[in-house]
C-alpha cells in the first residue's frame, strides 16, 4: 500500500486517476481503517486528504449558507454553535455516527462516500438540500448530495473524482430540521431506520418540507408523498398520521441482522412523525 499526502484536490484527483489498483481517499479513516484491518479492502494507493489547505474549515458562504471542509469531524461540527443553530438536524445526524472517539475523526464526506444506505449524516444533508463539490481530472462541479449514493457500498463518483467540499444552503427564516434514527441500544449501532425532516413555516403552517429516509432502501430516499402530507398543515394529528403512512409506504427495506422488513416499515413512520414534530418546534424557535 502506498500512502500519499497531496497538497491539493487536483493533485489528489490526479493520483487517483493515474492509479491502477484499488484506491481509497483518507479523511477521518473510520471506515477505511476498519476495512483495511478486516482485510476486506487493502488499497494499493491510499490518498490522505488532510494535508490539503482548507479541509478543516467551516465558513459562512456569501449568501448565508455554509462551506464545510472534507476533514471536519463530527465533534467539530457539533462544537460550532452557529452551524448547530442553523442546521441542527444535519449536525445531530453526523453526531450519531459512532462513539466519542469516532466523532473525533469521522467526517460528513466519509460517511457519504462509504455508500451505506444507513449512513446517519446523509438523510439530513439531503433534506437540507446540501451539495458537494466534486473535483476530477476535468475540473470541479457541484452535485446534490442525494445524487452521490448509488447503492450499498457504491457511489456515483467516477475514477479520479474526489469530493472537495460540502455546501449547505442558507437556513433562512422560520425553518427547522431534525434527524432521528432507531438503534437497539442507545449508542454504537448502525441505524435500523433513519429519518430526516426539513421544513419551513409560513405562520403556523408548513410551507415547504422534505422528508428523507435512511436504511429502508438501497440508498437514502426522498419521500415527496410524506412531505405533501404535512405541507399546508400545522402538523396536526391527522397530518402526522398521513405522514407516517406515507413514510412507511415508501419503504423498500430488507430483512437483515439489524431488523426486519415489517419493523423497518413501521418504525420509519414512527420516526417521521417524531422528527417532524422536532423540526416543527425548531422552526417555531425552540432550541
Amino acid at each position: 500500500m502506498r500512502y500519499h499526502t497531496p497538497a491539493t484536490f487536483e493533485a489528489a484527483a490526479a493520483l487517483a486517476a493515474e492509479a491502477s489498483g484499488v484506491t481509497r481517499f483518507l479523511a477521518g479513516g473510520t471506515d477505511v481503517l476498519v476495512q483495511l484491518r478486516a482485510g476486506m479492502v487493502t488499497p494499493d494507493d491510499l490518498i490522505d486528504l488532510k494535508k490539503i489547505d482548507g479541509v478543516k474549515t467551516m465558513a459562512r458562504t456569501k449568501d448565508g449558507g455554509w462551506q464545510i471542509g472534507v476533514a471536519v469531524s463530527g465533534a467539530e461540527l457539533g462544537a460550532n454553535a452557529a452551524l448547530v443553530a442553523d442546521w441542527p438536524g444535519v449536525v445531530e445526524g453526523m453526531e450519531l455516527v459512532g462513539s466519542t472517539q469516532v466523532q473525533g475523526r469521522a467526517t460528513l464526506v466519509g460517511n457519504l462516500c462509504n455508500g451505506s444506505p444507513a449512513a446517519d449524516s446523509v438523510p439530513g444533508l439531503v433534506a437540507a438540500g446540501a451539495t458537494v463539490t466534486v473535483t476530477g481530472p476535468s475540473g470541479s462541479r457541484e452535485v446534490p448530495v442525494g445524487e452521490i449514493p448509488a447503492g450499498p457500498g457504491k457511489t456515483a463518483l467516477k475514477k479520479g473524482e474526489v469530493i472537495s467540499g460540502v455546501t449547505l444552503p442558507p437556513r433562512g427564516k422560520n425553518g427547522g430540521d431534525a434527524y432521528l434514527r432507531f438503534i437497539p441500544r442507545t449508542e454504537m449501532d448502525i441505524a435500523v431506520v433513519g429519518c430526516a425532516v426539513n421544513l419551513r413555516l409560513d405562520g403556523d403552517k408548513i410551507a415547504e418540507a422534505r422528508v428523507v429516509l435512511g436504511a429502508v432502501a438501497p440508498t437514502v430516499i426522498v419521500v415527496p408523498e410524506a412531505a405533501k402530507a404535512i405541507i399546508g398543515t400545522t402538523l396536526d394529528d391527522a397530518a402526522l398520521e398521513k405522514l407516517a403512512q406515507a413514510a412507511s409506504a415508501a419503504c423498500k427495506p430488507i430483512d437483515d441482522k439489524r431488523g426486519t422488513v415489517a419493523f423497518r416499515t413501521d418504525v420509519a413512520g414512527v420516526l417521521a412523525r417524531r422528527a417532524a414534530k422536532i423540526a416543527y418546534d425548531r422552526a417555531k424557535g425552540a432550541k
Binding site: 484491518r37 482485510g39 437497539p184 454504537m188 435500523v192 426486519t260 415489517a262 419493523f263 418504525v267 414512527v270
Partner: protein, 748 residues
C-alpha cells in the same frame, strides 16, 4: 466446620482496601496476553473455514511458504493421531481434520517475521473445500430429518431412536408428577428459546509460545487456568505436561471462555516447526466471535402445576441444547439441576438432549446452563403467579428452598440463603417504587452450585515478617485482594504486608482454573490451612526461644503469645521478630496445602428490574435494577458488588440484544462488537446491590463464591418486566425491538 466456630467479627474481612494490582492497572503497566514479546519472536496468523460445514479436499501452502520471512505452516497433518474423548475434541477444534465443522474453524496456521506478513501469507494458503449440508438452529438439528453432521458420536446415555444429531441424554427427578399435576389448580406448559451468546471479554485470546524439538516449551497466555492450558496443549500436541511451563498473563476477562484452549497449541506447533523460535498469536475480535467460547442455544419445554395459593405441586422440563459441533459441550448437565433449584418441589422430572450443530465449540459461560433454565422456569412461574393474582416474591417464598429441603436434583440443601434474598428484595425501596405508563416490574431468582476443585496454595514468611501467598488461579475480578484480606486476617498482620502472586505452572502444584466461583472460596480455605502450618512453626520457634512447650503457645494479633500456665510470662513475639531470625532458628518458614477442595456452599440470588418499553418501536429501557445475593461472607464487599453488577449487566445484554446471528449459508453475520451488541454505558442505569450474608459453614470465613449466580435472574426478570409493561410475554431471547414490536402488534 461447626456453625458456632465461625467467626463473626474481623479486622480485615469486610473492608474495602485498594486492590494490590490497582496501580498497575490504572497506569497501563499491567501486562495482558498480547503485551508480551520475546527476542527473535515470530508472529502467527490462522486460516479459517468460510463454510459452516465442508470437506477439506486439499491444503496448498506452497505460495505462502515461498514468501520471504514465512517460517512455518502447520495443518492437522502436523498433529499426532490416536486421541479420544475431550482431548480429541480439543484437537479437532484446534485444527480441523478432514471436515471443517463451523464458520471460522481453523484449518491452517502460519508463522512469519511480522504480523502483517503472517496475515499476507495466510491469504496465500489455498484450501479446496467441498461444501456439505449444515444445520445451525437447535430445533432444526433435533429434527429426525436433519442432516446428521457427525454420525456415531452418540454416547451410551442416548436412547435408541433419538434423532441423529443427539449425542447425550439425561433424565432425573423424584415424586409422582402426574399426581402432582392432578392436584394443581392451574397447570401451564410453554416452550422457551434462547440464542447463543458470547462471554464477550474485551481482551481477545493471545499467547506467546515456544517449543523446541525436545518437547520442552514455555507459554505466556491469557487464561483462567494455566494448568488446564498445560494439560490440554500437551494432549493436543502429544507432549508431556510437565515439560511445558505456562505463565498466565493478567487476564482481560474470561467469564468461563478462557477455561479451555482454542489456538494455543498452534503457537507451540509453529514454534517447534520454526526451529524453536517463539511465536506470538493474537486473535482478532472476529476470530474471537467466530471461533471461541459461545454458550449453548436452547429450546426448552416447561410444565408447572400450581395451587391457587401459589404452592407448586409438580414441574417438568424437557430441554434441547446445542453446544456446537463437538459432543459434551452443551451444559445440559448443569441446566437441568439448576432449573427448579430455587423451589421445594415434591414432584419433579427433568430430561434433556444434547444435539450437535455447525457452530463453534461452546465453552463455559458464567453459571453455564443456569440462565437458560431460569429463563424458562422463572418466566413460567411469573406467568402463573400473575394469572393467579399473586405477588411473585410471595410465590417464591411459599415454595422457596431452604436448609433441609430436598433439592430438585436430589440431595438435601445445607444452610442456604434464598429466602433471605427474597425477603431483602421485598423490603427494598425498588420493590415499591411507583411505575408509570409503559413501565413494568419483573422479579426472578437464580441459583448456582459453586465449586471447589483442585487447589494448591503456598505461603512463605519473608525475612521482614511480610507474607507471600502463591496461588494458581488468575485474578479476574479482585481475588488477590480478597485472598490478601483473608491472609492478613489469619496471620493477624496488615493487609499491606501481604503479597498474593498468581504463579506459573512451575511454581506450584496443580490448580483448576478460576472457574465455578471458586477462587476466593478455595484459595481462602487452602491459604487458611497453609497459614495454620506456618503459624504452628512460628509458635514452635517462639516456644524454643522462650524455652517452653510449643503447645503452650498461641497465635493471636500477629504474634506468638505464651498461653496456659505461661500466660503473661513473656511479651508476645511478633511475626516480624520471629521472621527476622528464622534463618538461625531452623530455617525458612512456610506452609502449603494441596487438596481437591470441598466445603462448597450453594449460591442464590433474587433480582428486581423495572423497564419501560416504547410501544411504537419495541425498545426496552432498563429504569432500575436491583441485585440481592447471598455471598456467605463478603470478603471485599466492593468486588462482591462488582460481581453482582457485572453479572446483571451480562444478563441484561443476553435478555435484550445479544445473540449469534447466522445467515442461511450458516455463516456468522455479527462478528464485530458493532453488531454483537453488548450493553454500553448509556444502556444501563446504576445497578443497586444488597449483599446478604448467610455464612457457608464449610468455609473458615463463611465464603460461598459470588461470581456466577448474578447472570441467571436477569433473563426471566426482564422478560417478566416487559410482560408487565406491555401485556405480551416473550418466550424467545433476545427480546430485540423487532420481536417486541411484533408481539405488541400481534396483541392488537
Amino acid at each position: 466446620m461447626p456453625k458456632d466456630e465461625l467467626k463473626t467479627s474481623f479486622k480485615w474481612i469486610g473492608t474495602r482496601p485498594d486492590r494490590p494490582d490497582g496501580l498497575d492497572k490504572v497506569t497501563g503497566r499491567a501486562r495482558y496476553g498480547a503485551d508480551f514479546s520475546l527476542p527473535n519472536m515470530l508472529h502467527a496468523a490462522v486460516v479459517r473455514s468460510p463454510h459452516a460445514h465442508a470437506r477439506i479436499k486439499k491444503i496448498d501452502a506452497s505460495k505462502a511458504l515461498a514468501l520471504d520471512g514465512v517460517k512455518a505452516v502447520v495443518t492437522r497433518a502436523d498433529l499426532p493421531t490416536g486421541l479420544s474423548g475431550e482431548d480429541l475434541n480439543l484437537q479437532d477444534n484446534t485444527l480441523a481434520g478432514d471436515v471443517a465443522l463451523y464458520d471460522g474453524h481453523a484449518v491452517a496456521a502460519v508463522a512469519a517475521t511480522s504480523a502483517l506478513l503472517a496475515k499476507d501469507a495466510a491469504k496465500l494458503i489455498e484450501v479446496e473445500y467441498e461444501v456439505l449440508p449444515h444445520v445451525i438452529d437447535v430445533d432444526d438439528a433435533f429434527r429426525a430429518d436433519a442432516p446428521v453432521i457427525r454420525p456415531g458420536l452418540a454416547d451410551h446415555s442416548v436412547p435408541k431412536g433419538a434423532p441423529g444429531n443427539v449425542t447425550r441424554y439425561i433424565e432425573f427427578g423424584h415424586g409422582d408428577v402426574a399426581a402432582g399435576f392432578a392436584e394443581a389448580d392451574l397447570v401451564r406448559e410453554e416452550t422457551y428459546k434462547t440464542e447463543a451468546t458470547h462471554q464477550g471479554y474485551i481482551e481477545p485470546h493471545a499467547c506467546v509460545g515456544q517449543m523446541g524439538a525436545d518437547g520442552k516449551g514455555e507459554m505466556w497466555v491469557c487464561t483462567q487456568g494455566q494448568w488446564y492450558v498445560r494439560r490440554m496443549c500437551a494432549a493436543v500436541l502429544g507432549t508431556e505436561a510437565s515439560q511445558l511451563r505456562v505463565t498466565p498473563s493478567e487476564i482481560g476477562g474470561g467469564f468461563g471462555g478462557k477455561t479451555t484452549i482454542f489456538m494455543e497449541p498452534l503457537a507451540l506447533a509453529l514454534s517447534r516447526k520454526a526451529g524453536g523460535r517463539p511465536v506470538k498469536l493474537v486473535m482478532s475480535r472476529s476470530e474471537v466471535l467466530r471461533a471461541t467460547g459461545p454458550t449453548a442455544s436452547a429450546s426448552m419445554d416447561v410444565k408447572i402445576g400450581m395451587k391457587k395459593d401459589g404452592r407448586i405441586t409438580a414441574g417438568t422440563v424437557s430441554f434441547r441444547m446445542q453446544g456446537g459441533a463437538f459432543p459434551g459441550m452443551s451444559p445440559i448437565g448443569e441446566a437441568l439441576p439448576c432449573a427448579f433449584a430455587c423451589y421445594d418441589m415434591p414432584n419433579v422430572h427433568h430430561e434433556a438432549y444434547e444435539v450437535l450443530a455447525n457452530r463453534p465449540k461452546a465453552a463455559a459461560y458464567r453459571a453455564p446452563g443456569s440462565p437458560m433454565a431460569a429463563f424458562a422456569v422463572e418466566s413460567l412461574v411469573d406467568e402463573m403467579s400473575r394469572e393467579l393474582g399473586l405477588d411473585p416474591i410471595d410465590v417464591r417464598l411459599t415454595n422457596g428452598a431452604k436448609e433441609g429441603t430436598k433439592s430438585s436434583y436430589g440431595p438435601k440443601f445445607n444452610q442456604i440463603g434464598l429466602v433471605e434474598t427474597l425477603e431483602a428484595a421485598k423490603a427494598h425501596p425498588n420493590y415499591a417504587a411507583p411505575l408509570g405508563p409503559n413501565q413494568g416490574r419483573g422479579v426472578a431468582s437464580g441459583f448456582w452450585f459453586n465449586h471447589g476443585g483442585e487447589t494448591s496454595v503456598s505461603v512463605a514468611i519473608g525475612e521482614d515478617g511480610t507474607v507471600q501467598v502463591s496461588v494458581g488461579t488468575p485474578d479476574i475480578g479482585g481475588s488477590r485482594a480478597s485472598i490478601a484480606l483473608m491472609t492478613a486476617e489469619t496471620f493477624g498482620i496488615d493487609y499491606d504486608d501481604v503479597r498474593v502472586n498468581v504463579v506459573e505452572t512451575g511454581a506450584l502444584g496443580v490448580n483448576e482454573p478460576t472457574h465455578g466461583s471458586r477462587a476466593t472460596h478455595s484459595n481462602g480455605k487452602a491459604m487458611y490451612e497453609a497459614a495454620g502450618q506456618a503459624i504452628r512453626e512460628l509458635c514452635k520457634r517462639a516456644a524454643a526461644d522462650w524455652g517452653i512447650d510449643a503447645e503452650a503457645v498461641e497465635w493471636a494479633d500477629g504474634a506468638a503469645q505464651p498461653a496456659g500456665p505461661n500466660a503473661g510470662k513473656f511479651p508476645p513475639m511478633s511475626l516480624r521478630e520471629i521472621a527476622g531470625k528464622m534463618g538461625s532458628t531452623g530455617g525458612p518458614i512456610s506452609g502449603h496445602h494441596e487438596i481437591t477442595m470441598g466445603g462448597v456452599g450453594a449460591s442464590f440470588g433474587t433480582h428486581v428490574v423495572d423497564v419501560e418499553v416504547d410501544p411504537e418501536t419495541g425498545r426496552t429501557t432498563i429504569l432500575r435494577y436491583l441485585v440481592v445475593q447471598d455471598a456467605g461472607r463478603a470478603i471485599h464487599p466492593a468486588y462482591v458488588e462488582g460481581q453482582y453488577q457485572g453479572g446483571a449487566a451480562q444478563g441484561i445484554g443476553w435478555a435484550l440484544n445479544e445473540s449469534y446471528i447466522y445467515g442461511k449459508d450458516g455463516r456468522l453475520q455479527n462478528t464485530v462488537f458493532l453488531d454483537y451488541r453488548i450493553p454500553v454505558a448509556s444502556d444501563l442505569p446504576m445497578i443497586d446491590t444488597v449483599i446478604v450474608e448467610v455464612p457457608n459453614p464449610g468455609h473458615p470465613y463463611g465464603v460461598r463464591g459470588v461470581g456466577e449466580t448474578g447472570i441467571t435472574p436477569p433473563l426471566p426478570a426482564i422478560a417478566s418486566a416487559v410482560a408487565a409493561a406491555t401485556g405480551v410475554r416473550l418466550r424467545e431471547l433476545p427480546m430485540s425491538p423487532p420481536k417486541v414490536l411484533a408481539a405488541i402488534k400481534a396483541r392488537g
